[in-house]
Assembly symmetry: C2
Homo-oligomer: 373 residues x 2
């Protein structure tokens, strides 16, 4: 327990993930770190800090990488709101893998946004382009022949063929067990998502490659279904099970869910700097009820949403982060000055990002072709 | 009753269709015949003889034709067995409308054959090409820029976009009311079929045109769903309800269902002539139990599957057909000689058709691009 409390990468919610390890067969990511380092060089901060906490079959990805085999990173965004720091965490992973030479498939889930979330189609396309794709570019996603961004409703025929074919080997019952109340839109969306993950293996898309999908733990039921579908089509289509990694979610600034629908507790990458700083300054920290108490007991960075910003985004250097952690726990750093420092880092990041974003907006159509209707 | 009994185009099963008129809003086709004649010239024998017995909104098709507006005929085949005379009846309608200048969309329902009927994919594609498309060509379907034959799994992106979008405005409950027990494959197939019927109206496929779909009465629930879907997307996509016509089904040679799965009672267009003739000679007729009885009461052409062959396929001339009808009823034509005559016509048709079919098989790839997997 002491060990846990002293871990600067720990989170109060960490223990919840234990049941994923125990009951669902997700394996802890941490034991792989030495292998990751051997294969990729220094692991990404999200890996080092246990934010990416679990995986399925990631050993196969490492092995494939060491053998020089092709690997695809597949992930997607629901174009239903503004791009926030939770999305950035996924974008950071995409860019990490792109730099390692992975083939990148980024799906803009516009079919699902339209049919399941029932959003306006034109709005969806606009958000997909000018929030999601633009921010990915501004964060550093390169345009190259191994990088594919697509809208679910504007892709290639063999991808749609997969969706059609998958419907043969999935039952309503198993879908219902995963998704609860079903409607045709949800069924379509689930089959489409399976095609999103599995299509890179088809000859049409360059032939077999290993696939890894970074997701939140809540997405694991879908990963399991997709892995089952892959196995059911292994003989007929040569599909293999995708690997996956599981990340924690950064919380909102009040300690609850970070979400576009809670803009006062969520910092968007397009927030004007003064607005973003104001949100951060009001954020829930791990400070004690009184300054006296905090001097006596120390702060609790594990409960601090500002510390989370360091952990996920603002501080790359582990030594520096550890010092902040220890200074907080040791009462040498109080919330006021700490927030000043975090605000400074955040402002600097946003200023630079928003400069890049302006240019990126002009380039989205070089990366992706939006649907015409 | 007497009037009905003396109608040479009548069928014993005709009266069953009355409930479609009464309860489901299908309108009788016969009252339209004068308008059909004015618009198209002589109505097709299937129309004249009441085989096409009902319709929805066909007045709009006639009106559009008179105004020189564009009209699409949409129909499809399930590539799940050999092409028989029941399929020919649909093919005859396609070709009739093609000659009138309609735009033709013929879908090979390979996605449904694979996912719902669970057939082998390679077999499906082969049957689609070498049974369905080849026979259509041999029957006279021309290749022109207004004629589109496609496989459901190998078509254009906006068609798949429609399938995705349709899923938003259809409930599991209404589908279940139509299709009974649902599985993801059936849901996909139903949405796909709606896209088959409605996609010709999209700009991508040449922009708005009226659509007419010839179907059997058993397909009407699907037509109703598709019409509802069109109405639900009228504002967003400009879709209009398709019109439809309803045809009777030619029965098998034993008076029950004609089906590929009952080959002894079904004549295929690829049957060797001697086999086909042998099947016909064993066919159920409207003959009486004894020759004496038949001389006294006359035959019953309404119950005769050989007479059905005349009605649907073998005799174009109404006067000649009426004479056979009356000679049969008046005991001047007995089943033996009649079967000889029918066999002669059938053999002549098949010989010529199979000669054309041989050449047609080499041309299927000019008409349609099969999916690669």
């Amino acid at each position: 327990m002491e060990g846990y409390r002293l871990d600067p990468w720990a989170s109060a919610i960490r223990l919840e993930y234990e049941k994923l390890f125990r009951y669902f067969g997700i394996k802890p990511f941490q034991p792989l770190l030495p292998e990751v380092e051997k294969a990729f060089g220094k692991p990404h901060r999200l890996m080092r800090r246990g934010i990416i906490f679990g995986h399925r079959d990631y050993e196969k990805i490492l092995e494939a990488y060491r053998s020089g085999e092709r690997i695809a990173l597949v992930t997607g965004f629901m174009p239903s709101g503004k791009f926030h720091f939770g999305h950035k965490m996924v974008a950071d992973q995409i860019i990490y893998y792109q730099k390692l030479g992975f083939e990148i498939f980024v799906v803009i889930a516009d079919a699902e946004a339209y049919a399941v979330r029932r959003l306006d189609r034109r709005k969806i396309i606009e958000i997909g382009l000018y929030e999601y794709v633009a921010n990915l570019i501004a964060l550093g996603l390169e345009k190259n022949k191994h990088t594919h961004i697509y809208f679910q409703t504007n892709y290639e025929t063999p991808y749609y063929r997969l969706i059609q074919m998958f419907s043969r080997r999935v039952t309503l019952e198993e879908m219902s067990a995963i998704y609860g109340d079903l409607e045709p839109s949800k069924i379509m969306a689930a089959l489409t998502q399976a095609a999103d993950i599995l299509h890179p293996q088809l000859d049409y898309f360059g032939g077999f490659k290993y696939v890894v999908v970074p997701v939140g733990a809540d997405q694991d039921p879908h990963i399991r279904l997709t892995r089952d579908i892959a196995a059911r089509f292994e003989n007929e289509l040569g599909l293999r099970r995708p690997a996956s990694t599981y990340h924690r979610f950064q919380t909102g600034l009040d300690g609850n869910k970070m979400s576009s629908s809670r803009p006062e507790y969520t910092i968007f990458l397009t927030d004007p700097v003064d607005i973003a700083v104001r949100k951060l300054k009001r954020a829930l920290t791990g400070g004690r009820a009184t300054v006296e108490e905090q001097r006596r007991l120390g702060g609790e960075p594990e409960k601090c949403t500002v510390y989370e910003f360091y952990l996920y985004h603002l501080i790359e250097d582990d030594t520096q982060l550890r010092k902040i952690y220890e200074d907080c726990r040791g009462s040498r750093l109080l919330c006021g000055p700490d927030k000043e420092y975090a605000a400074e880092l955040l402002a600097k990041f946003l200023e630079e990002h928003q400069r890049r974003l302006e240019r990126a907006r002009d380039r989205v159509l070089e990366y992706v072709e939006p649907p015409k209707f």
